[in-house]
């Protein structure tokens, strides 16, 4: 197994099984380091191996058989979307191990970096991964606003970057080095609303959305338009100003006054569960809850509890899909981390495999003249990927215009709360 490197942040890091005792130890360690005067450089980076020259990207592995390829993995490991970033990192670690076990000529060395859910930090982290760590490619990013800020840096520096979780439209338009292993949910959501409006006889709907997030800002207008097209009257649209907000009572009270048949919840995964629960408390007890990728998480169902019953969302991945590759992934993840994967984890997992497929095509870096030639080769290989084996959809997907093409299924949350495949009336 290849070693992994991590940029540790001055803000909260991650946990891995050592829980509360580690927290106590960390407190002692942090106090100790503060007393001894040790400090980071304040740029979100502390001790790390910066002695590897750019040539290390083409260096041989410790076994002397395969060449090491450094891959930058920027994720939001602290801040408002850390809950998703942490899941992604777990699954990506699993994916890197799987890939390295299969590859002969190269071994991928992931360099994880925390963008702290901040656009400015994401720009800095991306720059450092490319310029200082000299990574061959980047895979990762957790939130769409982060992608919007950081991916132009990868394009400017001509480094192939595979976005593995950002679903805001237009990311691949940034340039030819930018790829997406996930796709915007606009059409999935239109299809869902059209189907449910008919099946459930929806007549009115409300929308609550996170204003500061470009995905939800876009999605609320997509949904409002889809509702209107389906003959569903939108009785209210309420904005939540910040991703840090946990109190949605005022917005939900306003929406409840319209007595909507459906409520679209377009908030961060960490906000969605409490918001669904608060919606029930606000009086929308029989209201159908609609969402998109944000709701496809065990975390959302866990935090919403029974309030999640009657929730619907489209998804490009579901643990309910029983083809072998998907179930093997779920088993491996569950065995390693003690819990089942969710969409965020799976997006990260697939992103690594997509990039690894391209690197496997390209071969070891020693066959190329310099870093840029190798990056260009990876870019070309990514662009020409076809019939990618995946855990998304029905098990295969295509790369088209540097973004994957996949189908969705519709999920209904039943008692438990338990997600089930929604077949509908037809």
């Amino acid at each position: 197994m290849r070693r992994q490197r991590h940029w540790e942040s001055s803000s909260p890091g991650r946990s891995r099984g050592y829980g509360k005792s580690a927290a106590l130890l960390l407190m002692v360690a942090l106090v100790g380091s503060a007393c001894s005067g040790a400090a980071s450089d304040g740029t979100g980076e502390t001790e790390q191996d910066t002695t590897q020259s750019p040539a290390s990207q083409t260096g041989e592995s410790q076994q002397g058989e395969a060449e090491t390829v450094s891959v930058g993995v920027p994720l939001s490991l602290s801040g408002p979307v850390a809950f998703a970033g942490e899941k992604m990192r777990s699954a990506m670690e699993l994916a890197f191990d799987e890939v390295n076990a299969e590859l002969d000529e190269v071994q991928l060395e992931p360099i994880f970096a925390d963008d702290q859910s901040e656009q400015t930090v994401a720009i800095d982290v991306t720059t450092r991964l490319i310029d200082r760590e000299d990574v061959a490619a980047i895979v990762g990013y957790t939130a769409s606003n982060i992608c919007q800020a950081a991916l132009p840096i990868a394009q400017e520096k001509k480094t192939p970057a595979v976005n593995s979780d950002c679903v805001v439209p237009g990311l691949t338009d940034i340039g030819e080095y930018i790829f997406s292993a996930v796709i915007p949910y606009d059409q999935f959501v239109r299809d869902m609303i059209g189907k449910l409006a008919e099946d459930l006889s929806l007549e009115t709907a409300g929308i609550i959305y996170l204003q500061e997030n470009p995905v939800f800002e876009n999605m609320q207008s997509v949904m409002a338009e889809a509702f209107e097209q389906a003959g569903v009257k939108v009785t209210g649209i309420e904005a939540v100003p910040s991703g840090d907000d946990a109190d949605f009572s005022a917005q939900l009270t306003e929406l409840a006054q319209g007595d909507p048949d459906a409520l679209a919840v377009l908030l961060l995964g960490g906000q969605s569960g409490p918001a669904i629960d608060q919606a029930r408390q606000a009086g929308m007890t029989d209201t159908v809850i609609l969402g998109e990728q944000n709701l496809n998480s065990s975390e959302v169902l866990r935090t919403a509890g029974d309030a999640a019953v009657g929730t619907y969302y489209p998804t490009h991945w579901t643990p309910l899909a029983d083809f072998e590759r998907n179930q093997a992934y779920i088993d491996a993840y569950t065995e390693r981390f003690g819990e089942k994967p969710d969409t965020f984890a799976t997006n990260g997992y697939v992103g690594v495999h997509v990039l690894a497929d391209a690197i496997a095509e390209v071969g070891p870096p020693s066959g190329y003249e310099g870093t840029q030639a190798y990056r260009d080769a990876i870019r070309d290989a990514l662009a020409s990927l076809t019939e990618i084996e995946t855990v998304f959809g029905n098990g295969t997907m295509q790369m088209e215009d540097r973004a994957v093409v996949i189908d969705s299924v519709l999920i209904e949350v039943e008692e438990g709360p338990t997600p089930t495949l929604y077949e509908g009336d037809s």
Binding site: G13, A23, P80, A250, Q251, E254, G270, G273
Partner: protein
């Protein structure tokens, strides 16, 4: 309209709990203790841990969580702020030290919770709500308002009717003079931090109940709001803190109810500027008593 008024009253309760604890330390020691928000989150997490992992009844867990938050606040003072104060560290130094303490607490909370959103057990409270003229007030809301009233009332009594309260107010006026007249200022400071932590912890527990969410960063949104409450109400003023909390909460809820939720925070801070232009020392604090 009554629904939104109840929402505002419940929100004001949380602001009052957070703001009063924040104000105690700021008023007494002139320290902007930003670790207060982390203690707020720690109180909520302690309640979660005590109920979920140790299986304690919620009421007992809530009381213990307040004690834990109080002790944590004292530790912040003993480890980060007290040594600086004794060495004469002023200006921005205590602010930076409290920021460091906040980061340590937040890191510990994130590790302990794996950055997950947690929720108190569903059976923590019975399913009950009060219906008033068509509006609904949940049991969680009732607890928020009543516990806020009780704790704020107790704090007012402590500050104005007990020897400790007099000592706190004397220390607030001038720590050196208080020491010269024989007041054990270190013990008073410790008590102030404990009380501040208890109030923060109460705010955290109430918020966890109200919004069905325990998260390591849950106190952060309240930090700026707490600052607004303190500045609006006046440093060290209990009554001012309450009034400012009510004004802020009604302003925010009104923004949502009138369809300008996007301007919620701008409205709150615009209100702050407007009131300060009229009363620079806050609503309840006379200018001659206001500290810098």
């Amino acid at each position: 309209m009554l629904d939104q008024s109840l929402n505002a009253i419940v929100l004001a309760s949380v602001y009052a709990l957070f703001g009063l604890g924040f104000n105690l330390v700021l008023g007494a020691l002139n320290i902007l203790n930003v670790a207060h928000a982390a203690v707020f989150g720690a109180g909520a997490y302690a309640a979660y841990w005590l109920t979920t992992d140790l299986g304690l009844p919620f009421a007992l867990a809530a009381v213990l969580a307040l004690v834990i938050a109080g002790v944590l606040s004292v530790l912040v003072n003993e480890i980060a702020l007290g040594p600086l104060r004794r060495r004469g560290g002023g200006g921005l130094t205590p602010l930076i030290a409290s920021l460091g303490a906040a980061m340590i607490i937040l890191t510990a909370l994130q590790l302990a919770s794996s950055a997950r959103i947690l929720r108190l057990p569903a059976d923590s409270l019975p399913d009950f709500s009060l219906h008033i003229a068509g509006a609904r007030l949940s049991l969680e809301g009732i607890i928020a308002v009543s516990s806020s009233l009780a704790l704020v009332g107790a704090t007012y009594y402590l500050l104005h009717r007990t020897d400790l309260g007099k000592a706190i107010r004397a220390t607030e006026f001038d720590e050196n003079i208080a020491r010269m007249v024989g007041i054990p200022t270190e013990r008073v400071v410790r008590s102030t931090f404990f009380l501040s932590g208890v109030l923060a912890g109460a705010g955290g527990v109430v918020t966890a109940l109200l919004f069905n969410s325990v998260h390591f960063r849950m106190g952060e949104p309240y930090l700026l709001k707490g600052f607004v409450v303190v500045v609006l109400g006046g440093f060290g003023s209990v009554g001012g803190t309450i009034l400012a909390s009510v004004i802020l909460a009604f302003a925010e809820v009104s923004a949502v109810a009138t369809g300008i939720a996007s301007w919620r925070d701008a409205l709150a801070f615009g209100l702050l500027i407007a009131i300060l232009l009229i009363r620079p020392s806050g609503l309840f604090r006379s200018p001659d008593r206001a500290r810098a």
